[in-house]
Amino acid sequence: MKSNRATQEPGWVRALLLATGLGFLFFFLGLPLVAVFVEALAQGWPAYVEALKDSETRSAIWLTVLIALAVLPFNILFGVAAAWAIAKFDFRGKSLLITLIDLPFAVSPVVAGLIFILLFGAQGYFGPWLAANDVKIIFAVPGMILATLFITFPFIARELIPLMQSQGKDEEEAAVSLGASGWQMFWRVTLPNIKWGLLYGVILANARAMGEFGAVSVVSGHIRGETNTLPLHVEILYNEYNAVGAFAAASILALLALVTLVAKTVVEWRMKKETDMLNTVLAPEKT
């Protein structure tokens, strides 16, 4: 590709832009990441390992994983269903549904948490009934799952809607006209088409579920070893002047984030490869 004079910036402008971008990356992403590990290891490996072996830290790790695992199936179910409905069908109130899906993005997580307090808290709408029947939602794991579900709900749908819209409904129509049942069409045609997009959405939703602080903090009750997730545990350790413990727990979160990043990159790479392949296969048909 020959560079065009008009789109070519002078050398110093390019250097400046590059330096700004890289500098920003370094100061806002690189440095904090390094700092987390430096602080976590400030008193050496034994202290770091000891901090992670603490039973409350371990239970926070497990609770974080448990909540993510509990939330993802619902997210997949609702996300695929919503994206399917929006991308493949026309119905009244469609734009309202799209707006509703975006609601968790627009609402502050703390407000999201307070909504659940308002619904299920002791002075909330369902509070007295729940208390009378001895069902605990708020300040227990179910409430934390609900809050996380609310926050992470849009990720998968948002990822799938544009993908499904661009794919259109031709293939599904072809499948049905060839005699496929609804399920057959879904499993053999739709799902293979969206699988990478779906996985991408799952990764994003998972990252958010594990890192969520605001909403979960409001409904957690902060019972140690029971309703503290990793982000909440980091805060409380830090407030207790336990820097090594706090940063050790934070380093686990950072590692989870790094794993997520790698997974995301792999998925993006596979997605691109498949689209490229499809394009080359389809190319001769175009005139």
């Binding site: 808290g121 909330g124 208390a131 001895d134 179910p142 009750g221 019972i223 029971e226 407030n239």
Partner: protein, 332 residues
């Protein structure tokens, strides 16, 4: 759809029922630096309770900002007992009917098993020669404290300085207010909380003095090292209380009144008092106070009740919108 809802409800129910079937459990909702105190106290009480009644208790802890914690208890966090660092917070629960109206009389010493005092933390060698409240208000001195309007730490600092100014020769409310104006001018910022103030002072190296709890000084030493700072005791300061209460509504529902009351009573036992002392909180027991005198140098203190006629009254006069703080502190 109906199946799904029922299934969901059933699984939620199973999750919560699992906890209920286990042995008797007490939940202690506490302020956020209370962990060290109760980490050692809980096993102590478990052993004591087992020895006297044969019952095995499970003790759980919830920690967070004091006001946030009582908010959660009011919203249904099933804490059997609350152990806080501000009387206002327990008053809030009393108003909501969760705690007895006369909670402060249910246990000795105003229901506060131990106390602390507001002290100054200054840089090594005390380069500015800070000795008393007047030095904090001197021109060119910077003092770090959390926001007086919405943090316990900040309120205690404000009231301590006020009481000190009041007790100076010829002191009165007008002079105290004027003194607070000068002192607050020396605050380059108001930290969001106690921990935040410490970080500002110790890590960002801002300011010449930090005002905080005596007990907090030891936690600062734990993280930043003893050689980094010195503790200064002013000529008069506030004795801060750490009130405790049984959450009536919860213990009635769970049937844990006996255990919860004993849990708090035991804080006044020799073992409970000694544990507080070892965590740098001034025990009520005079003998133990003497035994741990090396932690607790004598300091002249006042209580909020003596000078301000109670925590609620102090709050109304000084920190409500339009109170003395709002008059003194004109935003820069």
């Amino acid at each position: 759809m109906k199946m799904l809802v029922r299934g969901l409800a059933a699984s939620l129910f199973a999750l919560s029922a699992g906890a209920a079937l286990a042995q008797t459990t007490l939940l202690n909702a506490s302020y956020d630096v209370a962990r060290d105190v109760y980490k050692d106290y809980n096993p102590m009480f478990q052993k004591h309770w087992k020895a006297t009644t044969g019952e095995t208790l499970e003790l759980k802890q919830s920690h967070g900002g004091s006001s946030k914690q009582v908010r959660a208890v009011a919203d249904g966090l099933e804490a059997d007992v609350v152990t806080m660092n501000q009387a206002n917070d327990i008053e809030f629960l009393a108003e909501k009917g969760l705690v007895a109206k006369d909670w402060a009389k249910k246990f000795p010493n105003n229901a506060s098993p131990y106390t602390s005092a507001m002290v100054f933390i200054v840089r090594k060698g005390n380069p500015k020669g800070i000795k008393d409240w007047s030095d904090l208000a001197a021109p060119g001195t910077q003092v770090i404290l959390p926001h007086p309007k919405n943090t316990g730490n900040g309120r205690n600092t404000y009231l301590s300085a006020w009481a000190w100014a009041l007790k100076q020769p010829g002191g009165n409310d007008a002079k105290a207010q004027e003194f607070l104006g000068r002192l607050l001018k020396n605050a380059p910022l108001f930290a969001a909380g106690g921990r935040d103030a410490t970080t500002t002072f110790m890590q960002r190296k801002m300011g010449d003095a930090l005002v905080t709890f005596e007990s907090e000084a030891e936690m600062i030493a734990k993280e930043f090292g003893k050689g980094e700072f010195e503790v200064v005791y002013p000529s008069l300061t506030m004795q801060t209380e750490f009130p405790v209460a049984v959450v009536e509504k919860v213990v009635d529902k769970k049937g844990t009144r006996k255990q919860a009351t004993a849990y708090l009573e035991y804080l006044w036992s020799k073992e409970g008092q000694e544990n507080a002392a070892q965590n740098y909180l001034r025990p009520r027991d005079p003998e133990l106070l003497k035994k741990y005198a090396h932690f607790f140098p004598p300091v002249k203190t006042f209580t909020v009740d003596e000078v301000f006629g109670g925590a609620n009254k102090a709050f109304a006069t000084h920190f409500k919108d339009g109170g003395s703080f709002d008059q003194v502190y004109v935003a820069k």
